[in-house]
Symmetry: C2
């Protein structure tokens, strides 16, 4: 294990802040050229990254991590090429800064512009996957921001090496390499220092499990863009089409159970359940979905186990599902309000009025009528790139593309106006 | 003194959350009618409010508050009529909710809409002025939000009575009166409860002095819209026009010294200072401006006192000014970065290139070239109404009108799309 606890987090953040100023003066072309250079450097140095990754993998195996964990940590030549390709794609996206959202002239002649500008310094706190190191760096630089990266300890050698490669790449560009800072420490204190560094860090973005996100939200005085936890619901209304309902249930639950837009709880109207019990049971069995149910479900579905309070609140991230029965829409929306995480919620119904009411009453980033919750994703929605999925309401909600990494300035040009 | 410490803050926040749901289903017309009814009710019941205000004033005098404090607290028939008129103006503004920002169709036929919706429940924590009670209520209701009000203890009887009047008005409308909650307690604990009530309150907006805002930012886990502290700078460049520079200095410093967009520090290029020393001295004397200066200023300006570290950092909110001399733009922007609060910063220069560089390098909500910082104000910029001036970068920056009280939802309409 590498533990370099003597990193000076504040010093790194200060360097990032200074680099952000230089970065904010670069043109779109200069930023794009830098991203392309970075992509080439990563392609050229893939072997260096693979060697570092092998050390992380060895540590991971020694610590007895499971196959899924090791898989997420594993880099290959192809995966590294995808990192580089991702940077080239970001270079092709529109620059989100320097856009004049609106401009007007006051009666006294003062010219007012509202213009988009970089946020400044982004603090990224994330867990195992090393791809975040490259993806987040690319999005930050494209939007004119410096970035301070604090990755998980299990990938620390890979991440540190990737950032060293990035630095070698940046040395050939107009972006100062200090714009990308990596906190090379496994010390929790290093992370906590980022929480309160308001002077040097403009926003913290945590990406990872619920406990990581909670720790950041509860302890940070730096503004946070909260991402990711998705306790998503599917409400099957009395007037739901059975084919759509079952196909969407299976897709949302089993396509990728471990991601945040996967389904965790189905809420089923009792009339629909009575009419479609056998089809539901057969579908669940065919797809190996393990049911945690309320008392009605326990009586109807063979093999179901009783759902506890925890079942309604947790993300399974597996092929488990909680199922609750209700007698009307209000019970359904109330359950979502009580247990939902404001991420993605779906209703299956042929009644447009019921669908509209559901969409008005339920408070979430993404609301679906007769479609799978799996579409809550920057890629699927055509955003080009995604820094995360916001479950908060301020600044950015739902999938966040490059514009989420900008703020605005009002620029006023006058010739002596006073009030 | 009224101290009703047994208020149940959580219960009130829950009621607000419930009322927010009803409110979110109302039409623009229903909300506007309610605001007009509220305005009439306030006009009709002005005497009730005046009687309550007299009690606050008596308490204030007994506690030895100064004339300025008493003035801010004092209501008159005219001021109350202005409250009502303010509500009528808000009724005339465009509804910021229900606006489809963008919509598109995915290749699979899934229809995607990004639409503006109310935030939900706004927690407003504010100091003496009772007008905030009415202004914030009007803006919250117009944007479809419920509001929980926690005013300062010195105005508690006035505020409580105003909310009672608002409740009597709302009873005649489609807006549930529970949408406006007043925490009738002078207990600090009641305020602190609001800080962490994430389940029931969607955003906290503190309005008042620096210490109030700091307490909210440092202790709240509910997202905060940070408002108001303005340590504003005026940089007089070597190439500044002397008439513009002096007129703007006087206006920004003396027009209303106690507001957040007033000038606190002038940064003067030494070449300009050498050339225009006499005019500057004469202007400062004529307008009774008290100078705290660096060593250069101390030698030049009669009556100046030495500026300490505190002078550079604090808002005077009086006719005091700190003056620093510099030899170039970088020194000026560095000083602003070290001591500014990212509110409003101005440069006076006839050199457009210098002005543009200043505007790029300085990180603040509003940047002025040859104009007074006093224009950072929703009213002055034509926003129609203002809930506060944001000094943060996320969600809203600068003067915040009705759109700052909204968030977005993605609505997806499909016919069975899966991924």
């Amino acid at each position: 294990m590498v533990t370099t606890n003597k990193v000076n987090v504040e010093e790194q953040a200060k360097l990032a802040k200074k680099a952000a100023k230089t970065l904010s003066l670069l043109t779109t072309e200069e930023k794009n050229e830098a991203l392309l250079t970075l992509a080439d450097t990563i392609d050229n140095e893939y072997e260096t990254i693979l060697i570092a990754n092998e050390k992380d993998l060895e540590n991971g195996r020694q610590q007895g991590h499971d196959a899924a964990f090791i898989d997420r940590l594993t880099l290959t030549k192809e995966r590294i090429e995808e990192f580089a390709q991702g940077l080239r794609q970001v270079a092709e996206l529109d620059d989100p800064t320097g856009i004049i959202n609106s401009d007007w002239v006051l009666d006294n002649g003062l010219k007012v512009q509202q213009i988009t500008v970089p946020l400044g310094v982004i603090g990224m706190i994330y867990e195992a996957r090393p791809n975040v190191t490259v993806d987040a760096t690319g999005l930050a630089l494209k939007s004119g921001n410096a970035i301070v990266l604090k990755g998980g300890s299990s990938a620390i050698i890979s991440n540190k090496t990737i950032v060293e490669v990035i630095h070698r790449g940046l040395e050939q560009t107009k972006i100062p390499k200090e714009a990308v800072q990596f906190i090379a420490s496994t010390d929790r204190e290093a992370t906590q220092q980022l929480f309160t560094m308001k002077e040097h860090i403009d926003v913290l973005i945590p990406r990872g499990g619920g406990s990581l996100i909670k720790a950041v939200v509860n302890n940070a005085t730096v503004p946070v863009l909260e991402t990711g936890v998705g306790n998503c619901h599917l409400y099957i209304d009395a007037e739901a089409d059975v084919k759509k309902a079952l196909a969407i249930l299976v897709n949302a639950k089993t396509d990728r159970p471990a991601v945040c837009n996967a389904l965790e709880t189905a809420i089923i109207h009792q009339d629909w359940l009575s009419a479609n019990k056998d089809a539901l049971i057969e579908t669940l069995r065919a797809h190996d979905i393990h049911v945690h149910g309320d008392s009605t479900i326990m009586k109807l579905i063979p093999g179901a186990v009783p759902a506890s309070e925890d079942d309604w609140a947790n993300e399974y991230l597996s092929k488990d599902i909680a199922i609750k029965t209700v007698t009307n829409l209000t019970e359904a929306t109330q359950h979502i309000e009580d247990y939902g995480t404001k991420h993605s919620e779906a209703i299956i119904t042929e009644n447009q009025e019921t669908a509209d009411k559901f969409m008005k009453l339920v408070d979430a980033a993404a609301l679906y009528h007769n479609a799978s919750t799996r579409f809550t994703d920057g890629g699927a929605l055509g955003f080009g790139a995604e820094i995360g999925i916001s479950t908060q309401k301020l600044h950015a909600r739902g999938p966040m593309g490059l514009p989420a990494l900008t703020t605005i300035k009002y620029l006023m040009h006058g010739d002596g106006q006073i009030r």
